[in-house]
């Protein structure tokens, strides 16, 4: 049923969105596929599957991570936050609200990656970071619809709110 790759079927545990999950997965399965097809968390999007678009961004132990280039077994025991869980974080909730309010969402396919990546950056680097630096660090997330203008407005709004 999954898009899984590799052989074997070893057990591992992950904490996903606050919930402890025990799973079995082939050795070469990507975290992206584990989340989407094994755990049903399809809010994390599959885009290019090669690290070029950022749509699959999740937080692994709080750090922004491309789930398409991460093997599930590599992060055994880690804490993973996806777009489905990011709203429990007050910063994540503000990011979601700002993206919706500022119309930084069109087709929405890049949105989970942007929301998670921006939340991770704000968490990791603190609210004092100038928005220009944040925007630079979001350069790995592609959007084909908005032209980034509304994403910039949403990011600046969140910086004002949490700063």
């Amino acid at each position: 049923m999954t898009g899984g790759e590799g052989t074997g079927n070893a057990a591992l545990a992950l904490t996903v969105n606050g919930r402890r999950r025990r799973i079995r997965a082939p050795d070469a399965e990507r975290l992206l596929d584990t989340l989407r097809w094994r755990l049903g968390l399809k809010g994390t999007k599959e885009g290019c599957r090669s690290g070029g678009c950022g749509a699959c961004t999740v937080l692994v132990d709080g750090r922004s991570t491309l789930s398409c280039l991460t093997l599930t077994h590599e992060v055994a025991g880690a804490t993973v936050t996806t777009v489905e869980g990011i709203g429990r974080d007050p910063v994540g909730r503000r990011v979601q609200a700002a993206f919706a309010r500022e119309n930084a969402v069109q087709c929405g396919y890049c949105t989970p990656g942007f929301v998670v990546a921006l939340t991770g950056l704000l968490r990791e680097r603190g609210p004092k970071l100038p928005p220009e630096r944040l925007l630079e660090d979001l350069g790995g997330n592609l959007c084909r619809c908005t032209g980034y203008a509304a994403i910039r407005r949403a990011t600046e709004a969140v910086c004002r709110e949490v700063g």
Binding site: G4, C107, G108, Y148
Partner: protein, 730 residues
């Protein structure tokens, strides 16, 4: 705020890539190993024997699997004799997992005898453009139009400017790859898919597979970016054949690499453009286009004639000749991408305008204003120009240029470019509006694709007709068995055409309620989460005006339809082929400031302002977001985006790391200005806004480079190498 945004920021909408069903298999495509060749043998024995493989289908199996052995032979799904582009699917596989399906596809041995491939349109016609048009079996379309005495115009000219331009192919790069889920249920063929046009997928799939259209049911999922690439079928017939062969639901999603190889990109073109000038007036223009059609150009004549219309520009010119050839090559089928080919045409025509202005010593604004169409003018094909905001947009852009020159914020050159477009109301559609206690429901087959045209545009039309708040209106999506027909979300037509169907349904419904209440007219109100009918200042429940059957059903359902017509061309001017008649005239003007690195040739946009004639802005914030998106996409076309076709149908950059679209840091400050007062073909005079914003962008950047350096780059995109060559650095 968009009503789809809260779910989208939480990752709670289901796209084609997310579709899943119990017992589902995964599909994979087996690619042709050559660009052009005779199929000698397809050996799938290893793949068939792999654990987890449930179906392998080649062209030879179609006779057995499909009721009539297949559909239209011209559109045969899997070839049995000849392949015409590299990676053309020659077999399809379904397996328990995606990994197994892919591994099995890689295990299929496709033996071919290579035939010569046509790669480069200019190699086919080395002498083009000569006096004679290219005669070759590779020419799949020829269009020709002529008006006025061209020879006299050029003979009496004080100045003739002749230029050749080249444009590159642009990939779609919707972030979501094409993806669908197909199954056979109770004798029906069911397809859930990420599409801009469910009814087009239905008719395409039925036609390609030779199935009864009524048996094919298509349901749109949410769409992760369309831009034209999802406006017709692509993965759906392959997935359905696998579902028929395996008896199981089959999910088929392109890999991102396949997205580049098969996902309907635009292809290269060469344009020769000559203009004659007398006393500051352009008296004649001759345009000749050579368009790379790939293995297939949808609507051959139409696509060529449609493109070439934009090359004449939105200008009064006494004598004009337009001639276009579409040339078949061994590249994948050509596709439509946001304002298909109009941005490339504007790059040519508007760069040419600046070249003329420079040679004649005229300000680029003055030259454009002296020639810009006004309402009542006639196009080169004899069509009367309707309300058109070009001059107004140009005048505002001119004031902006003066302001930019004065404020000293940017260091680069400033370029201007014009574009024009037409709302696609010629493609028809129908709507059903339900009047229910909890509000009005627009019943719809197409999902919102991102632009906001469905979820905001159609709702905004209802708001304007009824005065109801947005909370009183919602869009309900249905599959093609229960939704009213509509052509699709493309061509900047959704609000313009479908919006009129919605408007008619709402007005008709209000008329029905008024008749039942025996009053001349009613108003609608929304209070306490409920819809009320106001008659002569008296508020009454909707239920009181429904029949017993409607009460049981829960609503009054009213249909509206809009089957529009395009304008008419003067047939005497069309010598051959099919040209596009506009329904209305949308103008966009872009002003761009860009700095050029004199050592590397790198171009850095510093600011962009766009002036868009929208007729009337039903939701100005949605118009603005379309403008910003179109401008950014246009910057990609201008500066970095290029499919690199090498020899024998090979694509050198089928991935996002090698094919670069703009990222956040690439986008300069953008200013958007809405121009109103020139009504179009849509409801309340609205014009389509999805496509026009991209059109002038590449040209404006090129003209800014010309202004900064005095050098004109005649090939898109303006890569550092091309700019450096123009600056004679290389």
């Amino acid at each position: 705020m968009r009503t789809d945004a809260p779910a989208k920021v939480r990752g709670r909408v289901e796209y084609g890539m997310d579709l899943e069903a119990p017992g589902m298999l995964w599909g994979a495509l087996v690619p042709a190993p050559v660009a052009h060749g005779r199929i000698v043998a397809i050996d799938a024995s290893v793949a068939r024997g792999m654990a987890g493989v449930r179906a392998v289908v080649t062209g030879a199996d179609l006779d057995r699997l499909l009721p009539k052995g297949g559909g239209d032979p011209e559109r045969r799904l899997l070839p049995t004799e000849e392949v015409t582009y590299r990676h053309q699917p020659v077999a399809v596989i379904a397996a328990d997992s995606r990994a197994v399906a892919r591994a099995a596809a890689a295990a299929v041995r496709v033996a071919t005898e290579a035939l010569p491939s046509v790669d480069d349109i200019e190699e086919v016609f080395p002498d083009w453009p000569g006096a004679e048009g290219p005669g070759s079996p590779q020419v799949v379309a020829h269009v020709h139009a002529l008006h006025g005495d061209l020879d006299a115009a050029f003979a009496s000219a004080e100045l003739v400017v002749s230029q050749t331009f080249r444009t590159s192919g642009v990939a779609q790069v919707a972030l979501e790859p094409h993806a669908c889920l197909a199954s056979v249920e109770d004798g029906s063929y069911r397809i859930r898919t990420s599409t801009q046009a469910p009814f087009a997928v239905r008719s395409d799939t039925a036609e390609i597979l030779g199935l009864a259209e009524s048996r094919v049911v298509v349901e749109g999922s949410w769409v992760g970016g369309g831009f034209g690439g999802k406006a017709s079928s692509l993965v759906e017939p392959y997935a359905l054949v696998l579902a028929i062969a395996s008896g199981r639901p089959v999910k088929l999603a392109l890999t991102y690499r396949e997205e580049f190889l098969l996902g309907r990109s635009t292809l290269p073109a060469v344009v020769r453009i000559d203009s004659s000038l007398l006393k500051g007036t352009i008296t004649g223009r001759r345009v000749r286009l050579l368009l790379d059609a790939g293995a297939m150009l949808p609507g051959r004549d139409f696509a060529t004639g449609y493109a070439i219309g934009f090359l004449a520009g939105p200008y009064r010119i006494e004598a004009v000749e337009l001639e276009g050839y579409a040339v078949r090559t061994h590249k994948p089928p050509f596709g439509a991408h946001r304002a298909p080919f109009a941005a490339q045409c504007a790059f040519v025509a508007e760069s040419h305008m600046d070249a003329i202005a420079r040679r004649a010593g005229i300000d680029p604004f003055d030259l454009r204003l002296a020639h810009a169409w006004r309402e009542g003018d006639t196009t080169p094909l004899g069509q009367r120009v309707g309300p058109f905001g070009l001059r107004e947009a140009l005048e505002r852009a001119h004031r902006q240029r003066e302001a930019w020159r004065a404020d000293g914020h940017g260091s680069g050159g400033i370029g201007v470019a014009c574009g024009f477009w037409s709302t696609g109301t010629g493609a028809g559609g129908e709507a059903i509006v339900e009047f229910a206690r909890d509000g009005l429901h627009i019943i719809e087959g197409e999902r919102e694709i991102g632009s906001g045209s469905v979820i905001r545009g159609l709702v905004a039309v209802v708001e304007r007709v009824t005065g109801l708040p947005p909370a009183a209106v919602r869009v309900d999506y249905r599959d093609t068995r229960s939704a009213p027909f509509d052509s699709g979300v493309f061509g900047s037509r959704t609000v313009g055409a479908l919006g009129q169907a919605v408007e008619k349904a709402v007005r008709k419904g209000m008329g029905t309620l008024a008749a039942r209440a025996k009053v001349p007219e009613v108003r609608l109100a929304f209070d306490g989460g409920e819809l009320w009918v106001v008659t002569r200042g008296h508020k009454r429940s909707l239920t009181s005006l429904l029949t017993p059957a409607e009460r049981a059903l829960g609503h009054l359902a009213i249909g509206g339809r809009h089957y529009g017509r395009s304008g008419t061309l003067e047939e005497s001017r069309v010598r051959e082929g099919e040209f596009y008649a506009y329904t209305d005239f949308t103008a966009s003007v872009v002003l761009a400031q860009a700095a050029v690195d004199r050592e590397t040739g790198a171009v850095r946009p510093e600011r962009v302002a766009e002036f868009l004639d929208v007729g009337v802005a039903l939701d100005p914030e949605m118009v603005r977001t379309q403008m910003e998106g179109g401008i950014a996409m246009g910057l990609g076309t201008a500066l970095t985006e290029e499919t690199l076709w090498t020899s024998a149908g090979r694509l050198a950059n089928p991935g996002l790391l090698d094919y670069r679209i703009p990222t956040l840091g690439d986008i300069p400050p953008i200013e958007t200005v809405i121009v109103e007062g020139f009504p179009g073909a849509g409801p309340f005079g609205a014009k389509g806004v999805g496509e026009p914003p991209i059109i002038p962008v590449p040209a404006a950047i090129a003209n800014a480079v010309l202004d900064a350096t005095g050098a004109q780059v005649t090939e898109l995109p303006l890569t550092p190498e091309r700019v450096a060559r123009a600056l004679k650095l290389l």
